[in-house]
């Protein structure tokens, strides 16, 4: 079989130096220290002519490095690569524009850098301009272009220089849908002409519908290469697992931050101490019976003269959904604001919360709400019940008439 790209044991190491100029030092002093970063590890793959290959992998997996090596922009550290045919690459959108030159000038620049004759490009010019379809901007410097316009021009040039191998790296992600369709159409034509296409896209849907083969790269290693359906299934499963892991991690982190009671306050102004749940007889306990009065006490010390401090509190269920927040504006909620130590006792009368775990948080504000001093963040208390009275959070008194 004829291969368009043949890669054997390819490894790419990036040298990472502590200081940038150590790279220069390394030229003369062999013992200069550096770290090795394996961008690609021992990759072996043969891509036959006429395949449309999707390159799958997360960000930083090594996709772009591999494509750059195939293109010839960068060289492998070890291993060999053989490419048969003329490559046209659209690497990371810009495809090598000189931002000071106009679109037209850049088209010729590209021709020049690809070693094409000016005449060759002259005949392609009209096609490129038409395909890019960016109007008069073609005569403006590329630095004035939007990323979409750059992608259009880049793609237009890449497909119109008649390559044997087309490399498209993330180029379609910025274009609008009409342009995307146009590009896919053109790439389909390429496929029919038996040209090889290497395609990177984060749109799995596009890869699935366009590519007949896929390779999956993970942490610089080739995980698998084969028919799109099969590889895509593996890759999607992997993505799902990764996402589940992430979610789990997030949940763990959230739990941790919830369980320890944080006391957020501005200690130099007001300091709170001894937030306690109590029963009617003053006994310290955070377990209550359904329907009981719930008391909580808090001691606080005002250290700087303040005016009109207000206390408010919020009740939440175990999933931190707010059940009740006391009125923060009511005049009834003023507390003693003079400098000195005070204590406050709050009664929640005949609590109708159904058995379960609840959280209470309190806060102090001044009259304007300008000074906001959070206090106890979500202190848990438990409601126990002898009899089953219903489901949900709160008991609602009800009567039946029949």
């Amino acid at each position: 079989m004829e291969y368009s790209v043949s890669i054997k044991n390819l490894t790419k190491i990036y040298k990472i130096y502590e200081k940038s100029w150590h790279r220069a030092k390394h030229i003369f002093f062999r013992n200069t220290k550096y770290k090795k970063f394996y961008a690609l590890k021992n990759i072996t793959i043969d891509i036959p002519k006429g395949e449309a290959v999707g390159v799958l992998g997360k960000n930083g997996a090594g996709k772009s490095t591999l494509l750059k090596i195939i293109t010839g922009v960068t060289t492998p550290t070890s291993g060999s690569i053989e490419v048969n045919g003329k490559i046209s690459a659209l690497l990371e959108l810009t495809s090598g524009f000189d931002s000071e030159l106009t679109g037209i000038e850049n088209i010729y620049l590209k021709a020049l850098t690809m070693g094409m004759q000016k005449k060759e490009m002259d005949s392609q010019l009209q096609d490129i301009i038409e395909f890019a379809d960016i109007g008069d901007h073609i005569h403006q410097p590329v630095r004035t272009y939007s990323s979409g316009m750059k992608a259009r021009l880049g793609f237009a040039i890449s497909v119109n220089v008649d390559p044997d191998i087309l490399i498209v790296d993330e180029a379609l992600s910025v274009g609008d849908d009409i342009f995307k369709l146009k590009c896919i159409e053109r790439m389909e034509q390429f496929k029919e002409q038996g040209k090889t296409i290497l395609f990177v896209s984060h749109s799995l849907f596009t890869v699935k519908s366009f590519c007949n083969k896929c390779m999956w790269i993970k942490d610089g290693e080739l995980v698998s290469y084969g028919d799109t359906g099969e590889i895509m299934l593996q890759y999607e499963n992997y993505l799902k697992e990764e996402r589940a892991k992430e979610k789990k991690q997030k949940r763990l982190e959230a739990k941790e931050s919830n369980t320890d009671i944080q006391i957020m306050e501005k200690k130099e102004i007001v300091e709170f101490k001894n937030f306690k749940f109590r029963h009617g007889n003053g006994e310290e306990n955070n377990k209550f019976l359904f329907g009981e009065d719930v008391f909580y006490t808090v001691e606080y010390e005002v250290k700087k003269p303040m005016k009109n401090l207000k206390w408010s509190f919020t009740l939440r269920d175990a999933e931190t959904t707010e059940i009740f927040g006391s009125d923060k504006r009511s005049d009834k909620h003023y507390i003693k604001s003079e400098v000195g130590k005070h204590s406050l006792r709050v009664t929640l009368k005949e609590l109708k919360l159904l058995p379960g775990k609840y959280l209470l948080s309190g806060e102090v504000r001044d009259d304007h709400g300008a000074l906001h001093i959070g206090y106890a963040n979500r202190v848990p208390f438990v409601v126990e019940g002898k009899d089953f009275v219903g489901t949900g959070i709160n008991y609602i008194d009800h009567e039946y008439e029949n």
């Binding site: 220069a24 922009v73 960068t74 090598g96 000189d98 850098t113």
Partner: protein, 272 residues
């Protein structure tokens, strides 16, 4: 050792193969450099002339008080003939040094013969220099100094300038990519070289060993060469020992530069 000696030839070969491209790129570069400004390429002329006027005023009128001509020629003519190559060298030191960094798209996105990038940058500066040289000739005619057969050796000096600056750029351009520190260093050194080279002052003011140190600076080879051409009327081969020194030094710089360049060549795309 043989590999070390081979280094320059690798670069020279790549340059020869791509000569056509290099010329085209040098025109593009020139176009790019001056297309943004309203006066365009005129700036390339105006800037040095302003500098000459200022130096002439500060030195000849300000410091020397319009005293006698030490050199036997009007100070302004002596100044212009020496400073013309300096303008090219100072501009090109920085311009060649930043050539790879500023043409990053050619390295990271395209497959382009990297060693020709400093070449076309230096080449594009050559055009400006040639124009400046012609303006100088015209200026000298107005001042009553007419062209002589010695003007032909400007061809030699321009070829030497081109080779010397290209070879220097191998080192500087590669190092500037590695770290911005080298770019700052290069700019500072260029500033210092202006005062350390006998451009505004006469070499005869230093004596003995110090004179040799000052002459060791290859830039003075061109300053002297241009003055010999325009004023003193001396052929470059009359000074064959100094010419020999210059070419010897150029070869050493080429060997070191090519060594550094080839070492870093494959990493350039990764660091830019």
């Amino acid at each position: 050792m043989i590999r070390f000696l081979k280094n320059p030839f690798i670069l020279i070969k790549e340059n020869i193969v791509n000569t056509g491209r290099t010329f085209e790129m040098s025109f593009k570069e020139l176009e790019k450099r001056y297309s943004g400004a309203a006066l365009g390429a005129v700036w390339a002329m105006v800037k040095p002339m302003l500098f000459i006027a200022v130096y002439w005023f500060a030195i000849d009128v300000g410091i020397r008080g319009g005293g006698d001509d030490v050199t036997g020629y009007p100070f302004i003519l002596w100044l212009i003939s020496g400073i013309i190559p300096w303008f090219f060298i100072s501009e090109t030191l920085v311009y060649g040094g930043t050539s790879l960094r500023q043409n990053k798209h050619l390295i990271t996105k395209l497959v382009y013969p990297i060693s020709t990038i400093p070449t076309f940058r230096v080449l594009s500066q050559m055009y400006v220099h040639l124009a400046m040289t012609i303006v100088t000739m015209v200026l000298f005619i107005f001042a009553g100094v007419y062209p002589t057969v010695y003007y032909f050796q400007l061809i030699y000096y321009n070829v030497a300038l081109f080779i010397f600056m290209t070879v220097v750029s191998w080192t500087t351009s590669a190092l500037v990519v590695v770290s911005r520190d080298f770019e700052h260093l290069l700019k500072s050194v260029t500033q210092m070289l202006f005062w350390l080279t006998p451009i505004l002052w006469h070499l005869s003011n230093v004596k003995g060993f110090l004179k040799l140190v000052i002459m060791a600076n290859p830039i003075y080879y061109f300053v002297k060469g241009y003055r010999d051409t325009f004023l003193t009327q001396e052929w470059f081969f009359e000074n064959w020992h100094y010419s020999l020194y210059f070419w010897g030094l150029t070869i050493v710089i080429a060997l070191i530069g090519a060594f550094i360049f080839n070492k870093l060549k494959n990493e350039l795309a990764d660091i830019l």
